[in-house]
């Protein structure tokens, strides 16, 4: 039987606020344990939560970015469960009336000929507080509790079960990861837990419109693990069903060391959260004018920018897409063009050499040692024919290594392209005289010999001859219509 996998995601994004969602304690990461745990974080008796307006603003921004309805009135609820890193005995979350309603996002899956676009529907997004952290092994038989993270604002973003492969799920997660950073609501740091995904996976016979029983893979904090976990879970479910077994709804954990998923024991789950509206918090009202105020502060969104890059600069869809994958890349590209670079060349350099170097050195584009204007000055030298593409690559390497600006490197390395036709003609003549055998081969019909001659001429010029001119002169001299 052919099977189809059905995937939905729940993502917890930590909002970039200075303080916690319900108190004025700092949210800075990496501080000494419990130094940012105030009376509200500790849930001391009698304390009351007061909602952080910045967290609300972040939720509105996200709603606008995915074309979702923003609830004029939403309600906070208590999600009850017991765990030592949750001192209140409940998490303040939103249940029946979330702040962000239905929206959607378009993702790009795959690359090259097999690439396709797909719309992923967002069910909802709601505000909630994070729990603290348990540290095990601090003392025999004891667990240590650090409540610095308790009360950190989260926006939980939930999708419809719209994804049909691990690749689609990862493409969605990456796109969401880019988007929340683009609109400045989350730093996207997965190591520090700022962006965590729970993935619901089920399988069904292809063509069926009934959903299978799902298992939820908890807390995936890397895209690589997400891919592995979904692939393992999918084949496990298919094998189980083909062997005549049934799938039990469960929460599972992924073990990166073995690449396997395993169900948590039933005691570790308490799905009966006994939600009810939190009497300590009044309903959250968001007016049209609140929304327009936030709208005015929003940056141009990636989809809009992508369309603009295609229209304004004539970039291919694929290139426009790659350049708008992160705001840093898009801003860098725009600044390079604004500094006088041809847009298509700038696109090629940003997606090519710059991104390759950044990847190799594991750097963000903001850390690029070559500024946008410096890159533009290099590209301008290609545009005006001063240097060849090959020479430009050498100049780029030197600029990256901090050897100076484009013009001084071109000068000091003697990379200026020879475009003087007299000089090139002299070189071509020499090459023709020295390679009589190749000339004969060419005349005998071996077209490859032509390229070999071009190569020889470039070599004789130490790579400085303008290749287009060499081609042209050589063609003329050989009297050939190659």
């Amino acid at each position: 039987m052919e099977w189809e996998v059905v995937i939905g995601l729940e993502t917890h994004t930590q909002l970039q606020t200075k303080t916690k969602i319900f108190s004025g304690a700092s949210t800075a990461f990496g501080s000494e344990p419990n130094t940012q745990a105030c009376v509200v974080s500790l849930a001391l008796p009698g304390v009351l939560p007061v909602l952080n307006q910045e967290a609300v603003k972040c939720a509105i921004k996200f709603g606008l970015a995915v074309n979702a309805e923003i609830a004029p009135r939403s309600v906070f609820a208590r999600k009850n469960y017991f765990y030592p890193d949750l001192p209140k005995g409940y998490q303040i979350s939103q249940y029946e009336l979330p702040v962000v309603g239905q929206g959607s996002m378009t993702i790009q899956v795959g690359s090259g000929d097999k690439a396709y676009e797909k719309v992923i529907n967002i069910t909802r997004a709601h505000l909630e507080e994070d729990a603290g952290k348990s540290v095990h092994g601090a003392q025999e038989g004891m667990s240590g509790i650090d409540l610095n993270r308790a009360g950190t604002p989260l926006l939980e973003i939930v999708t419809e079960p719209d994804m049909r492969s691990a690749a689609e799920a990862v493409a969605y997660a990456k796109k969401l990861h880019d988007l929340v950073q683009w609109i400045g609501i989350c730093d996207g740091n997965m190591q520090e837990g700022s962006f965590r995904c729970d993935v619901n996976v089920s399988v069904r016979p292809k063509g069926s419109d009934k959903l299978g029983t799902r298992r939820e893979i908890k807390n995936l904090n890397s895209f690589k693990f997400m891919q592995q976990a979904i692939e393992y879970e999918t084949s496990w479910q298919i094998e189980t069903l083909e062997d005549g077994g049934t799938i039990q709804q469960a929460t599972v954990l992924f073990n990166p060391d073995t690449g396997e998923t395993r169900a948590m024991r039933s005691k570790e789950e308490a799905n009966d959260y006994r939600y009810f509206p939190d009497p300590d918090l009044l309903p959250l009202a968001i007016s049209e004018s609140d929304i327009s105020k936030v709208k005015a502060e929003m940056p141009e969104l990636p989809e809009a920018m992508k369309a603009r890059f295609e229209a304004q600069y004539g970039l291919a869809h694929y290139d426009a897409n790659a350049l708008t994958s992160s705001r840093g890349t898009a801003d860098y590209f725009v600044a390079t063009v604004d500094a006088g670079s041809d847009a298509k060349l700038a696109a090629n350099w940003v997606m090519g050499s710059v991104s390759a170097k950044l990847n190799a050195e594991d750097k963000e584009i903001s850390e690029s040692p070559i500024s946008q204007s410096a890159l533009a000055s290099l590209i301008k030298r290609i545009q005006d024919g001063t240097i060849s593409n090959n020479a430009a690559k050498q100049v780029f390497e030197a600029m990256w290594a901090g050897e100076g600006d484009a013009d001084s490197i071109i000068e000091s390395k003697g990379l200026k392209q020879v475009s003087d036709s007299g000089a090139i003609e002299a070189i071509v003549d020499e090459v023709l005289a020295a390679n009589a055998a190749m000339v004969e081969e060419f005349k005998a019909g071996k077209e490859k010999a032509f390229n070999a001659l071009v190569g020889q001429a470039m070599k004789a010029s130490k790579g400085k001859a303008n290749p287009a001119q060499v081609n042209e002169i050589l063609k003329k001299k050989l009297g050939a219509g190659v």
């Binding site: 303080t19 909602l51 004891m142 009044l282």
Partner: protein, 95 residues
């Protein structure tokens, strides 16, 4: 909707309340009474009525995103039964 004593035990467990068998029976009677009352109320037509989430008809006041709390760890931990290296210690939680 009717409850049995297993439901009572389960609810008590979720709320971390210890209930003896005798107490469970008494609780079952009381809760069944409450559920009966709710069933009676279900008969009221509430179509078009927005569920009340708070007894007062006012909305949430928002706080500016400014740090107002200082580190008072020492003070808070002075009343904790066990601490170590700044952590509150609790009986071991199994992952």
């Amino acid at each position: 909707m009717s409850l049995n004593s297993a439901d009572i035990k389960r609810i008590a467990h979720l709320a971390r309340i210890e209930v003896s068998d005798a107490e469970a029976d008494a609780t079952l009677t009381k809760l069944t009474g409450i559920l009966g009352l709710i069933e009676q109320m279900q008969a009221v037509d509430t179509k078009g009525i927005v569920p009340m989430s708070h007894s007062q008809d006012v909305t949430q006041r928002l706080r500016e995103d400014v740090v107002t709390e200082i580190n008072q760890r020492e003070l808070f931990q002075s009343i904790a039964p066990a601490v170590e290296g700044g952590l509150y210690l609790v009986p071991k939680v199994i992952e």
